[in-house]
Symmetry: C2
Subunit: 247 residues, 2 copies
C-alpha cells in the first residue's frame, strides 16, 4: 500500500516540530506543500524532492501528492501548524476517495492557537473557541453568529485569519460583536509571526484591540470575563470558583 | 535569573513530543509533574531528579518547582498535552508573583483536541469549541450554557474530561443539550488513551454517543452540521460553500 504522511510542521522553527514529524520528513522521498511552508523546512531536509503550489491551489496540491504516491514514492504533505486545524487533512480524505490504493497517515503539529498562546502567557487555561475570520468558504453571517454566541458563552476566543488585504475591517467588526457581551477592558492579545523570525506578542484591552490593524500573519486571543494581566502576561484562571483557584 | 520551563509533553509517546521539549528536559536538573506524566517520560531522561505530587495538588506542585528553581536548579514542570490548555502554566504565572526572581519559559505540546483528532480523521478543519465537562472549578450551569450556545453556533465541539466516577451521566447530559440544535445523525467520535498504549478511536452518531459510557481517559468530538464520514473517518469540510470545497 502506498502511503502519504500528512504532517503538521508547527509554527515554523525546526525545534517546534514534533520528533515524529522530523522523522517522517527524513524518511520521505517527496515533500509537498505551499511554497512558504516548504521554504521553512527545506534546509533541514537536504536531498529531498520538493513540490510546491501557491495558495488557493489546495486541491491541485493534494492531487500532486497522490500522484507521487501512486508512483511508489514515500510522500509527505506538509502544513503549517497542525494539518487537522483548518489544514489539508480534510481535503486529503475527500480527494483520497479517488485513490483507494493510497493510505493516509496523519502526524500532528502545534497549531497557532496553542503555539501563539505561549508567547502571550496562558490565555487558554479554560474553555475556548477557535474561529476563522476568512469568509472565502464560509458566509460572513455565519461567522458573525459564531462570534456573538461564543462571546455570550464567555469562551476565550482565538481568531485565525483576522485580516487580509480585502478584509481590513473584519477584526474591528468581530470586536464590536464581542463588545456587546464583554467589557471593553477584557484582556486580549495578538501575536505576529508565531515561531518565526520577527515574532512579536502584544497584550492589550479589547477596546484597544478593536482599533488595532493586524495583518494576515497574526493570530488574536480575546480573554473571557476572568482573564487577567499578570506581569504583562495574559492569564486565564482555571475556573470560576475563587476559593478553588488556589487550593 | 532562575528559570522554570513549563513543558507540554503531548499525549504521552516520546515521538509526539516537540524537539524543543525533549531538548529542554535533557538539559534540566529536576523534572516536576503529576505522577502519571512523570512515569511517561522517565525512561527517556535518565539521571534526572523527578519530583511528583498526586492529582489535585497542583498549587503544591507549582511551589515545589519554584523552590527547586530558587536553589539554582534548572527545573522543568511537565504537563500532558499542552501546559497552556487546561494546564499548569496559568497557575504557574499566578503563584509566580510570589517568586519574582524566577522566570518562566513555556514550551508547547500537542493538546488532546488536536492529537486525538488525528486518530479519528479530520474533525477540526473548521471552527471549533473546546469545553471541559469537569465542574470542579466551574459551575455546571455555566458548562450547560456553553454547550447550548456552542451547539447553536454549529461549532465542532471537543469535550475534555467527559466523565469521572462522580460524573457518570455528564456526557449524556451534554449530548442532550447539543441534540436540541443538531441532528441525532451528526457524526461524532471519541478516543481513549490518545498516544498511549491501548489507544482506540471510534466514529459514531450523536445519538449513539449519547448512550455510550466513556471514562476519564477519553476525549470526545461532536461534528458540526457538515461533518461527514469518509471511509470510516470523521471529516469536517473546510466551509459551507459547496462549490468552493473542491476548487
Amino acid at each position: 500500500m502506498n502511503t502519504i504522511y500528512v504532517v503538521g510542521i508547527g509554527p515554523g522553527q525546526y525545534e517546534k516540530m514534533t520528533i515524529e514529524a522530523a522523522e517522517v520528513l527524513r524518511k520521505s522521498d517527496v515533500i509537498v506543500g505551499y511554497t512558504v511552508y516548504v521554504d521553512l523546512v527545506k534546509e533541514h531536509f537536504p536531498g529531498k524532492q520538493f513540490l510546491t503550489t501557491p495558495m488557493r491551489k489546495e486541491a491541485e496540491r493534494c492531487r500532486m501528492a497522490f500522484e507521487e504516491a501512486m508512483k511508489g514514492q514515500t510522500v509527505a504533505m506538509i502544513c503549517s501548524g497542525d494539518a487537522g486545524v483548518y489544514g489539508m487533512s480534510g481535503l486529503m480524505y475527500e480527494i483520497g476517495t479517488e485513490y483507494p490504493q493510497v493510505e493516509l497517515k496523519l502526524v500532528g503539529g502545534l497549531t497557532a492557537a496553542t503555539s501563539g498562546a505561549l508567547v502571550l502567557g496562558a490565555p487558554l487555561i479554560h474553555d475556548f473557541a477557535v474561529i476563522s475570520l476568512s469568509d472565502l468558504l464560509t458566509p460572513w453571517e455565519k461567522i458573525e453568529k459564531r462570534l456573538s454566541l461564543a462571546a455570550e458563552a464567555d469562551f476565550v476566543i482565538c481568531l485565525y485569519n483576522p485580516s487580509s488585504k480585502k478584509r481590513k475591517d473584519y477584526l474591528q467588526r468581530a470586536c464590536d460583536l464581542v463588545l456587546v457581551h464583554r467589557s471593553p477592558e477584557t484582556v486580549c492579545g495578538y501575536v505576529r509571526n508565531i515561531g518565526r523570525d520577527g515574532e512579536e506578542g502584544h497584550v492589550l484591552s479589547l477596546k484597544e484591540l478593536r482599533d488595532t490593524q493586524v495583518d494576515m500573519f497574526t493570530t488574536v486571543w480575546i480573554g473571557n470575563s476572568q482573564t487577567k494581566k499578570i506581569g504583562g502576561k495574559m492569564v486565564t484562571p482555571r475556573g470560576y470558583r475563587a476559593e478553588g483557584e488556589r487550593q
